[in-house]
Symmetry: C2
């Protein structure tokens, strides 16, 4: 199996195309790295870049991007609706195949150390890479945003960064770097147009109301299809796989007298999520993923 990491840095510039292009060019010039998507959001004044590749190559490409953003984005002039503390606001590393979350934590630390030392930008580690339970949360780290952090980073020991100086970079602010799991945006359509049924199912299966761990769910009515929809974010597909979610939804459907009509993946999905579902449904036992030809070829 190839070793593949995804990296989804967020930059505090969503209006100037030349700036975003310079940053994505810095990422794309790396070998063994591929930029999959660039989303510019003018009202948030923020861009989200998705790239994938070999783990070490991703860390190098992310460093080049942080460096370029620090040269081109001035946080003193930044206005936008989305919470942010830096030119490169947040950099998550996400394991896709052949790597673990721990590997991604190590990438986050390596990048954090380089960004702190070589670029003089304070770095906070978050999620799986966090150095305290509170710092697992992005919103905790970003509280008060760039403007508030400016003073507090100097005076409040609780806001001491994990790497770099206890002072914001004059233009680039601070950066949050970490490791998280891949998020699958997954929707299921029901054989009813009754939104209430979708909402009941969503409530039954989501973590926040006592359902499956790592599942966020809401119920909607989708007018263009005249169907009720359970709309989900699966935030850890290895711990709570897609098929387990589908089984739970089908169980709720049976109780409520409706059926699952279809499902959809919005955006990207790691191959492993589909492979794991096939193994489950086909009741494959003692199956080694190295029996998959493509994995053998890339060993």
């Amino acid at each position: 199996m190839d070793r593949i990491v995804e990296c989804v840095p967020n930059f505090s510039e969503g209006r100037k195309e030349d700036v975003v292009k310079a940053i994505t060019d810095a990422i794309g010039k790396g070998e063994r790295v591929k930029v999959l998507d660039v989303e510019m959001d003018a009202s948030h004044n923020r861009s989200v870049v998705t790239f994938v590749g070999d783990p070490e190559a991703c860390a190098d490409a992310a460093f080049e991007a942080v460096k370029k953003a620090s040269e081109l984005i001035d946080m003193n002039e930044h206005v936008g609706e989305h919470p942010r503390i830096g030119a490169t606001d947040v950099v998550p590393f996400i394991p896709i195949s052949g790597v673990t979350t721990d590997d991604c934590v190590n990438l986050a630390r390596q990048l954090g150390s380089r960004v702190g030392e070589e670029l003089g930008i304070p770095v906070y580690l978050y999620e799986y890479a966090a150095t305290s339970p509170e710092r697992k949360s992005l919103s905790f780290i970003r509280r008060g945003q760039y403007e508030g952090l400016k003073e507090e980073i100097r005076s409040d020991p609780e806001r001491k960064p994990d790497y770099g100086p206890s002072e914001l970079h004059p233009t680039a602010g601070a950066t949050v770097i970490g490791a998280r799991e891949f998020l699958i945006a997954y929707n299921v359509y029901l054989s009813t147009s009754d939104k209430v049924i979708a909402q009941r199912i969503a409530k039954a299966i989501r973590e926040s109301s006592g359902g499956l761990k790592h599942v966020r769910a809401l119920g909607f009515y989708i007018e263009e299809r005249d169907m009720a929809q359970v709309s989900m974010n699966l935030v850890n597909f290895r711990a709570t796989p897609v098929h387990k979610v589908m089984e739970a939804i089908e169980g709720e459907c049976t109780k409520l007298g409706v059926d699952v009509v279809s499902s959809e993946v919005i955006g990207l999905i790691p191959q492993e999520a589909l492979t794991d579902s096939a193994i489950f449904y086909l009741k494959l036992k003692e199956f080694d993923k190295n029996q998959i030809i493509e994995n053998r070829l890339r060993e």
Copy 2:
């Protein structure tokens, strides 16, 4: 998606390790090609090599193997149980991902032409590459074997090869080259030890007795598990997918009052076979395989 072809040449030497090693070395020295498996069979005096890679690289590697085998194997001295007509007896090309059966037919023709012209070995095209309906069948082409073909290739117009001279190569004989689909060896275990039930299900689902196309099936009792087993070869998983076979077996099970306990894949399986099953069971609609991150990375 990467373009991947599998090639499974059979050589008429299953006893001398140094000869087989020289042949696999000739294959393995090619770039963008990987040898996955080498099976030497002493009683058949025959070896089967499995390698995968980029289509053109596979054709080149196969040529090097045929050439090496023609130098090291003398059919005049070959004794073994398995039918054969040449040092390299048969070379199938099999589409794995990003290529069609037609692409593999073209590879077979290219290789056939080179083997005929450059090595002076007569070549018969078979299966999807066959130039007549009869020649689709390996056993038709191999009738009379090496010893019988020696005379008939000269005298019988029906036995004129597709490429190369109408005369066997003095040591390497003739070679059969073609394109076929990937064969998945797939077994399903039942919640019964009654072999007769497995045999009834096998009969209901296999092509030869009016069931699913491209499915060969037999029923067995497997002592080590004390379970009845439906043992299958799925010879065209794109036309008759694994999940369709599983659905058919489950339908028969319901009629007979038994359950599917588990299933197993013997040997290799293309990624696409599992992906297609996941899409089916999850009821994924409007799913584009380029939503799979790994496919995007390799675009």
